[in-house]
C-alpha cells in the first residue's frame, strides 16, 4: 500500500484514495473521427516507469489531483494541481 501526498491534506495511505487512471487525456471534440474517438476511449499507454495519473482523495478532502508515479517502483516523484498541464 502506497503513501500518497495529498496536496491538501498531507501524506495518507493509499486506501483513502481512488485512482482515476492516466492524466492529461485530450478529449476529442464532437466532430472527431471514429478512430480518434476510439483511441481516446479504449487505448492507453502502459509505460514501465514514470506515469502521470490522476487520483482523488476520496476519504479525505474529495479533491482530484495529478500524480507522477513510477509504475515499476511505485515511487511518487511529484503531485500537482488537476488544472496544471506539464510541458511535454
Amino acid at each position: 500500500m502506497m503513501k500518497i501526498p495529498c496536496p491538501h491534506c498531507g501524506v495518507r495511505d493509499e486506501n483513502e484514495f481512488q485512482c482515476g487512471g492516466t492524466a492529461h487525456l485530450a478529449r476529442p471534440a464532437l466532430d472527431a473521427s471514429d478512430r480518434e474517438w476510439g483511441e481516446y476511449l479504449y487505448f492507453r499507454d502502459n509505460p514501465k516507469g514514470s506515469h502521470r495519473e490522476r487520483w482523488r482523495h476520496a476519504y479525505g478532502c474529495g479533491r482530484w489531483f495529478n500524480v507522477v508515479r513510477d509504475t515499476l517502483t511505485h515511487e511518487i516523484s511529484a503531485v500537482y494541481p488537476i488544472t496544471e498541464t506539464p510541458a511535454r
Binding site: 500500500m1 503513501k3 464532437l30 472527431a32 474517438w37 474529495g62 517502483t73
Partner: protein, 967 residues
C-alpha cells in the same frame, strides 16, 4: 515408534511440570507446555502424521518450522475447524485436537494410497495430458474429492480478529541473534524499533541452545525500549515500507470461542531489517520422503529445545559442514550416530565429529522401510550401481546445506546472486527500504552476524550508510546432492509429490523458464511454497538444461511468506461493518404498519405490507391496485438527492445529462438520462430548477454516490472553469410520496396549501413551501403513472409527515405500498428501471430517447459515442412490451427471445415481468433486436426448454396518453 523424551537438562523450551493432554486422530496423548504439536507427536513415538497430496504416501514430521511440508493437520474444536495448520509451528495447548489431512478413512489405512501403485502413470503435467478426453468434467468430482488437504468448517467463524496500524523507524523481522542485535543497536541509537518474532519467545536457534549473548541481548532490548512482538509472523513487504504481520493470540485463549484470535499488524516502517535466518536444504536420494527422514537441524532443535529424540540410531546424509555439529550435538544427547554419509569429496569437507564414522563422497542409494525408516544402503558416489553397504538406523537426517530466507528481500524487489561454493542464493545488495542481516543475508559466522547486524541497526537509526553483509561461514556444498544414476523415486517437493524425474520430464518437454517449470510440475506451489524444494528444483532444472542455477533464476517471491487466515485479513470488517445497513428515517412507522423489509442496495426498505393472510406477492397486487384506484403512501427517502448551485449550474447540467436542463424555467422539472463516455445509460432521474443558479437533482437510490462522484470528477478535472457546486443531500431530506387519483384529496385533508393542488401545480414542477412548521419541497413527478406528490421534508420530520398523510389516506381507502407494488406500477407504464431494463450496452436510442439529440447544443457526456456506427446500427435492441399470446402465462425475467428453438442466436431477453392487477393479465418489458419495427409480431420466449409465444406491443399498457398524471 521410535521417538522418545530425553532426560533433563534437555528441553530448554518445555516445562516438565506442566503436562498437557491432547488428541491426535482421536487418540489421547500428552506433551508439555512449550512443546509444539510436532515435538509432542515425535516424543510420543508418532511417526506417521499424514499422507501426501498426490500419491498419498506415508509421511512423518520433516522440519521444525515454516518449511514443514508433511506435518499438516486440521485443528478440530467443536464447530471450529482450522485447516492445514503446520504441526511444527503450532504451540501445544490444553485440549488441542488435531487430525491428519488427506487420508480416508484414516492415516494408517488410506484408500488413496493405492494411487501410489499408479505412480508411474502420474508424471508432471498428468492432469493436462490425461483428463482431456472425453471431458474434464467427467473426472473432476472424483479428483476434487481426492485432492486438497484439510477441510474447513462450514459454520460461521465466531472468533474475533482485529487490525492495528503503527509506525516505526526500524522494523526488524526475526528474533534470532542477528535480529536482536540489529534491534538493540537501532533502539539504543534512538530509533523507534519494533522486533517481530514468530516464535513464542525471541532468541532463535542460539536462544534454545542457552547462549549467554542472546540472554544479554534480550535484556538490553527491554531496556532500550524495543517493542517486541512474539508469535508474530511477518508475511509481506508492500509498497512504501509497509510490513504486514499476523500475531496469533489463540495460544493465549485456547478453547475459548468468540475470543480475539489473531491480530493483523500493518507496520509502516522507515527501514525494514530482515533477519529471518535460513532454511535447511534437503538431500536428494531415493526414498527421501519416508517417515524417519527429516532435516538435521530440526532433529537437533527437537532434542535441545523440546527434549525430544526423533530416533535412537541416526544416519546423517550430508552436503554441508553443519552435519558434523548436529552429529556432535545429538551424540551428546545420547542418540547414536551410525555415520555421516557425506556426498562431498573429502577436500570439500571442512568439519568433523569426533568418534563418528564419516563416509566421504558417499550417498544413500536406498531407504529401507516404507512406513518408517529401518535402514539404508549407501554407495560410493562414483559407483551408484554397486551393492553398497547397509546401515541399520531408525532416523535419516538430511543436512544438505542452507537456503537463506530471502523471501522478504525478494518481495521488496531485491535481487539475488548465486554463491557457487556454498550453493545458495543470497541477496545481491539491499532491497529498496529493506536490509538483510544474519543467515538470510548469507552471513553464517556467529560473531560476524552479530557485529554486522548491530552496525546495520545503528546506521539505519542514525541515517548512515549501511555496510554490506560479510557473506560466508557456511562452508562448501554441492549444488546437487543427488548421485547421478541412482534409481528410485527421489522427492523434490514433499507436499506436492514432485519428483526429480518430473523435472527431467519437464525439461525434456522443453520447459525452460523457471516460472513454467514451477507451474507444470507444481513444485513449490503447496502451502509451504517450496521452502525446502525451490533451490533443489532450480539446480535440477539447471542440470537438465545445462545451465548454472544463476542462469535459471528464481521464481517470483510473493506474499504471504506463510499462509494467512482470511479472518486476520478481514479483521472486523464483517456483517454490518463490512456493508453498513441504511435504515429509513421512519423505519419504525413502517414496521408498525406491517412492512416486510428487504435489502435494496444497502437500504432496508419495505418490499410490501402483507396482511396476515397475504403473501408478499398478493400484498403487492393489492397495493398496486389501491394506488390505481384510490391512493398509496410510499417512503421514497432513499431517492438520491443532489443540489447544484452556481452561476454555471445550468450549463454544467447540460453537459452531464442527455436532456437540456438550461431551458427549464425556475419551478420546472425534466426527466434526464445520465450516460458514461461510452454513451451507455448509467443513471436516470428528474432535474428540477429551483432558481436561476440552483437545481435539485433526483438520481436513483443506488446511483447517487456514483453520480455525485462523476459530477465532481467532470467539474474538477474537465470543466474547472464552470462555477458550480455539487452538494449531495440525500440523508438531509426524507421523502413521502403520495400517489393515486385521491392523492390531492389526501393532501388537502391534512391542510396542504391550495397552491399545490393539481389545478395550479402542474406535473413536472417543483415548489418549496411550509407544512406543520417545517419547510417542504414538493415535486410533482410520477413513477406510478398516477397523480403523484413527492414531498421532501427535513429528515427528522419524516415520521410526523407520514403519520399525518396516513391519517388522511386511510379513510379514503388508501394503503402504504412497497417496492414490489412500485415495480408492478412502473412496468404497467413502461417506465424504465436503469440496471434492470438496461445493462452495460444500453444506449438512449435503445430505450426510445434518441429524439432531439441532434438539436442539443451542448456536448454532453457520452454524446460522441452515440455517433459511432455501432450506436447507429439499425439492428440494435429496443425496449418493447411483451404480452403472452395466451393472455395468462407469465414471461420469466431473463428468458431469451428467438424464433428458432435453441441453440440459436438470441434476439433479446425479458427484462421486467409482472402480473397486472388492473389489467388482470401479465405485462412484461423486453430488449428485442429491431423491436421498434416489430409491434404486433409473435416471438418465441424460451425458458427451461419451453417456448412461450408472446406478442410485441408498445411499452405503456395503462393510460398511454398520460392523462392520469394530472389528476
Amino acid at each position: 515408534m521410535s521417538g522418545f523424551r530425553l532426560p533433563e537438562p534437555h528441553g530448554t523450551r518445555i516445562d516438565r511440570t506442566r503436562p498437557i493432554p491432547f488428541l491426535f486422530n482421536g487418540k489421547v496423548l500428552a506433551g508439555f507446555r512449550g512443546d509444539t504439536l510436532a515435538s509432542a507427536l515425535l516424543a510420543n513415538g508418532v511417526r506417521l502424521v499424514g499422507r501426501s497430496y498426490k500419491l498419498h504416501r506415508a509421511r512423518g514430521v520433516f522440519g521444525c518450522g515454516f518449511e514443514e511440508p508433511n506435518a499438516i493437520v486440521d485443528l478440530v474444536d467443536g464447530e471450529r475447524r482450522t485447516p492445514d495448520v503446520r504441526a511444527t509451528t503450532l504451540e501445544l495447548t490444553e485440549g488441542l485436537a488435531a487430525q491428519s489431512v488427506n487420508c480416508w478413512p484414516s492415516v494408517g489405512l488410506d484408500f488413496g494410497a493405492v494411487l501410489g501403485a499408479f505412480a508411474p502413470f502420474l508424471p508432471a503435467g498428468f492432469y493436462y495430458k490425461t483428463f482431456m478426453w472425453p471431458d474434464w468434467h467427467w473426472f473432476e468430482p472424483a479428483i476434487r474429492w481426492m485432492a486438497g488437504l484439510g477441510r474447513t468448517s462450514l459454520a460461521p467463524d465466531r472468533d474475533r480478529y482485529e487490525e492495528i496500524c503503527v509506525d516505526a523507524d526500524v522494523a526488524v523481522v526475526g528474533g534470532g541473534i542477528a535480529g536482536l542485535s540489529a534491534a538493540v543497536a537501532a533502539a539504543e541509537a534512538g530509533a523507534a524499533t519494533t522486533l517481530l518474532c514468530a516464535a513464542p519467545a525471541a532468541g532463535g536457534a542460539l536462544g534454545w541452545r542457552g547462549d549467554a549473548t542472546v540472554r544479554a541481548l534480550l535484556a538490553k532490548a527491554g531496556r532500550a525500549g524495543v517493542t517486541l512482538l512474539t508469535r508474530t509472523v511477518a508475511f509481506g513487504v508492500y509498497d512504501h515500507g509497509l510490513l504486514c504481520a499476523t500475531e496469533s493470540l489463540a495460544a493465549a485463549t485456547p478453547g475459548t470461542h468468540g475470543a480475539l484470535r489473531e491480530r493483523l499488524w500493518k507496520i509502516r516502517a522507515r527501514s525494514i531489517v530482515s533477519a529471518q535466518g535460513a532454511f535447511e536444504r534437503p538431500m536428494l536420494f531415493p526414498g527421501n520422503d519416508r517417515p524417519g527422514v527429516m532435516l538435521a537441524g530440526a532433529a537437533e532443535k527437537y532434542a535441545h529445545a523440546h527434549a525430544t529424540a526423533c530416533g535412537r540410531r541416526a544416519v546423517i546424509a550430508a552436503n554441508a559442514d553443519s552435519a558434523y555439529a548436529v552429529a556432535r550435538s545429538l551424540r551428546a544427547a545420547g542418540i547414536e550416530i551410525v555415520a555421516v554419509v557425506d556426498r562431498r569429496p573429502p577436500e570439500s569437507i571442512g568439519a568433523h565429529a569426533e568418534g563418528v564414522r564419516c563416509l566421504a563422497h558417499h550417498g544413500i542409494r536406498q531407504v529401507i522401510g516404507g512406513r518408517g525408516v529401518r535402514g539404508c544402503v549407501v554407495v560410493d558416489a562414483d559407483a551408484p550401481g554397486d551393492r553398497g553397504e547397509r546401515l541399520d538406523c531408525d532416523l535419516i537426517l538430511s543436512a544438505g546445506g542452507f537456503a537463506p530466507a530471502v523471501h522478504l528481500h525478494s518481495q521488496a524487489k531485491g535481487r539475488l546472486r548465486w554463491l557457487e561454493d556454498a550453493a545458495m542464493f543470497v541477496p545481491d545488495g539491499a532491497a529498496p527500504g529493506l536490509h538483510s542481516v544474519g543467515a538470510c543475508a548469507g552471513v553464517f559466522a556467529r560473531s560476524a552476524a552479530l557485529e554486522h547486524a548491530a552496525e546495520v541497526g545503528r546506521s539505519l537509526a542514525l541515517g548512515f550508510t549501511v555496510p554490506p553483509p560479510p557473506v560466508g561461514g557456511a562452508g562448501r556444498s554441492l549444488a546437487s546432492s543427488r548421485i547421478p544414476g541412482v534409481r528410485g523415486k527421489i522427492f523434490l517437493d514433499l507436499q506436492n509429490d514432485v519428483t526429480v524425474s518430473d523435472v527431467s520430464l519437464a525439461a525434456a518437454e522443453n520447459y525452460r523458464s523457471v516460472e513454467h517449470l514451477k507451474r507444470y510440475t507444481t513444485t513449490g506451489m503447496a502451502t509451504d511454497q517450496g521452502k525446502t524444494s525451490n533451490v533443489n528444483a532450480l539446480v535440477l532444472m539447471g542440470e537438465a538444461t545445462q545451465r548454472a542455477p544463476a542462469e535459471v533464476g528464481t521464481t517470483t517471491f510473493r506474499p504471504p511468506f506463510a499462509p494467512v487466515s482470511f479472518g486476520a485479513l478481514v479483521g472486523r470488517r464483517v456483517g454490518n461493518r463490512y456493508r453498513p445497513l441504511k435504515r429509513l428515517p421512519a423505519a419504525g412507522w413502517h414496521a408498525e404498519h406491517g412492512a416486510l423489509f428487504e435489502l435494496f442496495g444497502n437500504w432496508s426498505r419495505p418490499a410490501g405490507y402483507p396482511r396476515a393472510d397475504e403473501s408478499l406477492e398478493s400484498a403487492a397486487q393489492r397495493e398496486a391496485e389501491t394506488v390505481r384506484g384510490a391512493v398509496g403512501v410510499f417512503d421514497g427517502s432513499p431517492l438520491g438527492k443532489i443540489e447544484i448551485w452556481g452561476a454555471d449550474a445550468a450549463e454544467f447540467l447540460d453537459l452531464m445529462y442527455v436532456g437540456t436542463m438550461s431551458s427549464l424555467a425556475p419551478g420546472q422539472a425534466r426527466y434526464g438520462l445520465l450516460l458514461n463516455e461510452h454513451g451507455v445509460i448509467v443513471d436516470d432521474g428528474v432535474v428540477a430548477r429551483l432558481g436561476t443558479g440552483h437545481f435539485w437533482v433526483n438520481t436513483t437510490s443506488a446511483g447517487v454516490e456514483r453520480t455525485a462522484a462523476a459530477f465532481e470528477e467532470w467539474l474538477q478535472c474537465e470543466y474547472p472553469n464552470l462555477r458550480a457546486l455539487v452538494t449531495p443531500v440525500t440523508s438531509r431530506w426524507g421523502n413521502v410520496t403520495v400517489s393515486g387519483p385521491k392523492a390531492w384529496a389526501t393532501l388537502a385533508t391534512i391542510g396542504l396549501d391550495r397552491r399545490f393542488a393539481p389545478e395550479t401545480m402542474q406535473h413536472m414542477t417543483i415548489a418549496d413551501g411550509e407544512f406543520d412548521g417545517s419547510p417542504v419541497r414538493i415535486l410533482r413527478a410520477s413513477f406510478t403513472g398516477e397523480l403523484s406528490y413527492e414531498i421532501n421534508v427535513p429528515v427528522e420530520r419524516t415520521r410526523d409527515l407520514l403519520e399525518r398523510v396516513w391519517a388522511a389516506a386511510a379513510p379514503l381507502g388508501g394503503c402504504p405500498y412497497g417496492i414490489e407494488a412500485l415495480e408492478i406500477l412502473r412496468t404497467e407504464k413502461g417506465y424504465l428501471h436503469v440496471g434492470v431494463d438496461t445493462d452495460g450496452t444500453t444506449l438512449p436510442g435503445d430505450v426510445g430517447f434518441a429524439r432531439g439529440l441532434e438539436r442539443k447544443r451542448a456536448n454532453f457526456v457520452g454524446r460522441r459515442s452515440l455517433l459511432r456506427p455501432a450506436a447507429r446500427n439499425p439492428g440494435r435492441s429496443r425496449l418493447v412490451g411483451l404480452k403472452p399470446a395466451d393472455g395468462r402465462t407469465r414471461l420469466p425475467v431473463g428468458a431469451q427471445i428467438a424464433n428458432a428453438p435453441p441453440p440459436t442466436a438470441t434476439e433479446g431477453h425479458v427484462t421486467s415481468s409482472h402480473w397486472s392487477p388492473t389489467l388482470r393479465a401479465p405485462v412484461a418489458l423486453a430488449m428485442l433486436a429491431r423491436g421498434a419495427e416489430r409491434l404486433g409480431e409473435t416471438v418465441g420466449v424460451h425458458h427451461l426448454g419451453q417456448r412461450i409465444d408472446a406478442i410485441v406491443v408498445a411499452t405503456s399498457w395503462i393510460d398511454p396518453e398520460g392523462k392520469r398524471l394530472h389528476g
